[in-house]
Point group: C2
Chain length 192, copies 2
Amino acid sequence: MHHKLETIKEVISNYIEINEEEWRSYSSGFSVQTFRKKEILLAQGHLCRDVFFVVEGLLRVFFVDGEGEEKTFHFSFENTFSADYESFLKKMPSNYSIQALEDTTVVLMSYDMLHGGYKILRNGEKLGRLLAEEYFFIFNDKIQAIYTQSPLERYNRLIQKFPNILQRIPQHYIASYLTISSVHLSRLKNSY
Amino acid sequence: MHHKLETIKEVISNYIEINEEEWRSYSSGFSVQTFRKKEILLAQGHLCRDVFFVVEGLLRVFFVDGEGEEKTFHFSFENTFSADYESFLKKMPSNYSIQALEDTTVVLMSYDMLHGGYKILRNGEKLGRLLAEEYFFIFNDKIQAIYTQSPLERYNRLIQKFPNILQRIPQHYIASYLTISSVHLSRLKNSY
DNA sequence: TCAAAGTGTTAACATATGTTATCGTTTTTT
DNA sequence: AAAAAACGATAACATATGTTAACACTTTGA
């Protein structure tokens, strides 16, 4: 088995029971791809054809708003999925772009593969349900953070959760992620 | 069949194929309940035991933040579901309260019932997946609105989508929903 | 190796938004 | 019917946050 797929198998095994035979036919649908730093994996306005599973590296999910400003929406670290899941599921143009912040290796899951899995795998529908629920939890937490925490609180929790984030992600992307200006984040960090 | 269940059957039929026999055994698990204006259906910190389907009336989902301020998170109109779905799924204390803004009739779906449906119904897991995806879409749209639209834009779209909302919901709840102060919303409406 | 681009800090200033208080009106409760 | 509570507008003021610009430093790319 392709060693890049080890981790994704573990992740999926956390969701459902999957045996060797199922895994063989299922995993043949995966493909592995690497991207250079700054490369675009998904361009806003295009169809999100695959869910990316980050094996190594780091992705940034962002969009360009009405004023032409880039807004960073999410960072995808190792061993997590990344996509515009709504675009992927509904086959509609993506509202987001996805970009590699470092040289990054991803495993691609296509729509046909995921939906084929609903039939191939005994617990395929359940996997789909749990993935959707997982996505929902992430977004729920995200909204809750926005509603309940100040930018500084969110910043502190972010670096607490990902201590090396400052080494890996330029600060103005983090500011954008926190929905504040880079100048303001710099002030918050240093003046309080 | 209890006539209050007509609509929820239609809604579920939009998600999956369900035959009469399945519906009979499934729908026996529903219960109907009415609440007076201002009554609390779910209290923050308690377990969200049921998903509510609003047959008639209007619900407000809100929470009390660290400073003791009520923040309105969502309005649940007729023929939509309402819950703290994370609390419901994970059986953890709810971060939200749900309150009736008018005399409201709801259909209750318990956790056991929904999960029982994963087995009873041929397409039970699929129903679970589609419900989770639906919840995800709502939250995705919500986040996107927060990131891309100004409070005034969000206000205008809200009254465009629900023209009678001003007759049904006090303006300060709407302001809170838009994450701005009631004073500021009043200014926005009248000065621009 | 050097020029260009990117990055983080700070200052000065402009603007948006929150807070508190007051007032008249409407709605709810007794 | 009367009293109390809720509601929305407005004004005055305080604060938070954005914008622009300048600067030093680092990284990137030819």
